[in-house]
Symmetry: C2
Subunit: 436 residues, 2 copies
């Protein structure tokens, strides 16, 4: 059979990695796909730049329409990133009847609903495995591998930079700012690290995971997001003393009242497998009602790990092309007419446990005042560490773990505790999930 | 659209679990598949037996041909297990143009080549996700999710009973026989535990994983298999002292000379995620050249976990039925004409590191003799523990870890060491893999 011709928009890290993987593994890939796959054209902003890939046989162009209008190209890979231009080009490629593979999480999280509608109209496939957790086939696992389950919840380490920072803080007792500077120097974190450390990147990915897990629309604007920049090395140490690790998790959970969608630092028991996912690695824990807990682990970023997911999507397209021009698997796992708009809960309605760190005066009755406030809000204490004050200091830290409670009760309790004259400064709170 | 009617052969643990999942999650599943899925007939040897599932609306029969010959049934689930009858019925169902979903690892490992040929002739799908690692979608991950990679190796904990035994031996310092008896009492291990503890069950599963990873034929007879029955609690303890855990792994690795296919107890560094997979849980670590290491974890057995994989396969069939009567994804990941017969290495050609435990007389020069023999066979020592002899005993244990070596060199060295007059009894050897 004739080779399948593909065009690539964007020849940076992911685009270059994709060309390398397609060339190096061409034989193996053709054995799986049933047809040879060749890149005939690629968009590159600067045609003279040095690249990580060999571009022999690929016509480079600065005009995306050389690719989108090429009648021989059947699949377009959108690997330029960003939202505005990417969205425009993806919609135009679909309009021209091209199948699209993208690695762009922001694009799918923010504009997926519109893109999928257009793709359905035109009868083309749009695949986006690389948009979440890099090389881990997590979208396929949820959309297809767990399709017999009602997904109860999922929790993922889906930003490698954040996980690298938290791992270094724990392993080496370093401070947040110090490790962030190193991550930037190593190229893990962007010069503007806000997308990584404030959880926006993770929220993009969680938007997609929640949609395919529960059959709800993509709704990035409803995700509660809290970053890791306020985590201190003391918190990391106290958590460790209590048998927990702090991870920056994206959590989606279906409750009777609605769906919790939240990204925040989380204490998790150190014996959980996901607590041991370190450095830049990603992992997603998915709990189905039939299968129980399952975990998917691997590299969440990097040229070739991301390319692995892009190429897998291309192979899926090619396997379907031979006999199935419509997309066999619905974009969001559920049939478009079966997508339902289950309410997304406000953070006030979250049910979770908490780690609390307070600084209090070394006086009798302080602890009684605090526990009294918690009891008034039906908050039970699970464990507590009370430290001796440092030499010559009149204040001391108290660390508490609570049982499950409603976030609004905790908000109220914290306001009252902070108003006590014996409590200094703000209460540090980190949510805690047992992930059982 | 009309519901898809399915028939089930076998209404035991997995069959009953599948009915329960299909009924309980009917709405969720139809939302994903695009059609309702209903079980209309089921084969049960004893029609009066009490069952774990509600059989309302299902016509029970003792005659499999009531199912196979029913023109309304589009998909047949083979969940009776065993080889002879199962093979016969699967081939007849295919002959009648039914799509088949099976959870039967022995059937696929031993007769898959024949079954898939027949399925291709008849243009029907045969899916078998549940045959390996229960609810973990590992077949889909390798066949589709990693299709851009050259798989370098994979290593899996793919027998829950064996992992439960090794976990108990480590956690509680118990003996093999003692834990096995408990596993049998708990229903984890069969009354005849040989399939589990001698690695035959794992070898069936490894046969399938190796085939889809490398595009080679199914060849169960070429798997090297060693069980866990000779592992002592002392070995488990010594391994722990050296920073390792002992796991019963199925390993498939592509080398320049051919493919290693082996099931045996293996020391692995305790910091590896897979070293922390405990109890009856399964996990498979897959190393692709582009993606790097990825891990897939979950329940490897149990009624509903296995049903999760069976139902996912049914959904795959139904999603394809609407537009794609041929199997879009090749059975063994690679196109049938692309399957190549790469040689499978004999165990003499394995390259691995070793844990060795020897019992020696407490005399000068003994260690020198042993290290001399190892050096003669180009075997380097990585670490060693020499214990004091027990009070009143003239012999003492020596534990060594070696670097990578060829198995034939190790076989020769062990023969020579066992021939030393100062060495008592057999040398205990367990292979060691760094899984990097």
């Amino acid at each position: 059979m004739k080779p399948v011709k593909i065009g690539i928009l964007g020849l940076g890290t992911v685009g270059g990695g994709t060309v390398n993987v397609l060339k190096r593994n061409a034989k193996e890939i053709a054995r799986r796909a049933g047809r040879e796959i060749i890149v005939t054209r690629a968009l590159a902003r600067n045609l003279d730049r040095e690249r990580i890939c060999d571009t022999d046989g690929i016509a480079l162009t600065a005009d995306p329409f050389d690719i989108i209008n090429d009648p021989e190209i059947e699949v377009v890979l959108e690997l330029i990133g960003g939202e505005t231009l990417a969205k425009d080009l993806v919609l135009q490629a679909i309009e021209k009847g091209k199948h699209v593979v993208t690695a762009n999480k922001a694009l799918i999280a923010l504009h997926g609903n519109e893109i999928f509608r257009k793709a359905s109209e035109k009868g083309v496939m749009v695949l986006f495995e690389a948009a979440v957790a890099g090389g881990i086939p997590i979208i396929k696992a949820i959309r297809e591998g767990l399709s017999g389950n009602q997904i109860e919840w999922l929790a993922g380490i889906i930003n490698g930079t954040g996980n690298f920072i938290l791992t270094e803080m724990r392993d080496k007792g370093r401070d947040f700012g110090d490790v962030l500077a190193e991550a930037q120097a190593l190229g893990y974190a962007e010069a503007n690290p806000i997308f990584d450390v404030e959880g926006i990147d993770a929220a993009h990915k969680l938007t997609i995971l929640a949609s395919i897990a529960f059959g709800i629309p993509l709704q990035f604007d409803k995700i509660f997001t809290e970053g890791i920049s306020k985590i201190t090395r003391e918190d990391v140490e106290y958590a460790e003393q209590l048998g927990y690790r702090i991870k920056h998790l994206g959590i989606a959970r279906k409750t009777e009242k609605g769906i919790e969608l939240r990204v925040h630092p989380t204490l998790i028991p150190e014996r959980r497998l996901i607590a041991n996912v370190d450095g830049v690695m990603n992992a997603v824990l998915v709990k189905g009602d039939a299968v129980g807990p399952t975990l998917y682990y691997g590299a969440g970023a990097g040229a070739e790990a991301t390319a692995s997911a892009v190429v897998a999507d291309v192979v899926d397209v090619v396997r379907a092309l031979t006999s199935d021009p419509e997309n066999r698997v619905p974009h969001l796992a559920f049939q478009p007419e079966a997508i339902v708009d289950i309410p997304v809960l406000s953070d006030e309605d979250f049910r979770t446990a908490y780690y609390l760190r307070l600084t209090v005066e070394d006086k009798p009755g302080v602890l009684a005042d605090i526990t009294h406030i918690l009891a008034d809000h039906n908050i039970s204490i699970e464990a507590m560490i009370q430290k001796e004050p440092h030499e010559g200091e009149a204040v001391l830290p108290i660390i508490m773990l609570t049982q499950l409670t409603l976030e609004k009760e905790m908000n109220a309790a914290i306001s009252e505790i902070e108003a006590l004259s014996t409590v200094t400064g703000k209460v540090c709170r980190i949510r805690l999930e047992s992930l059982k």
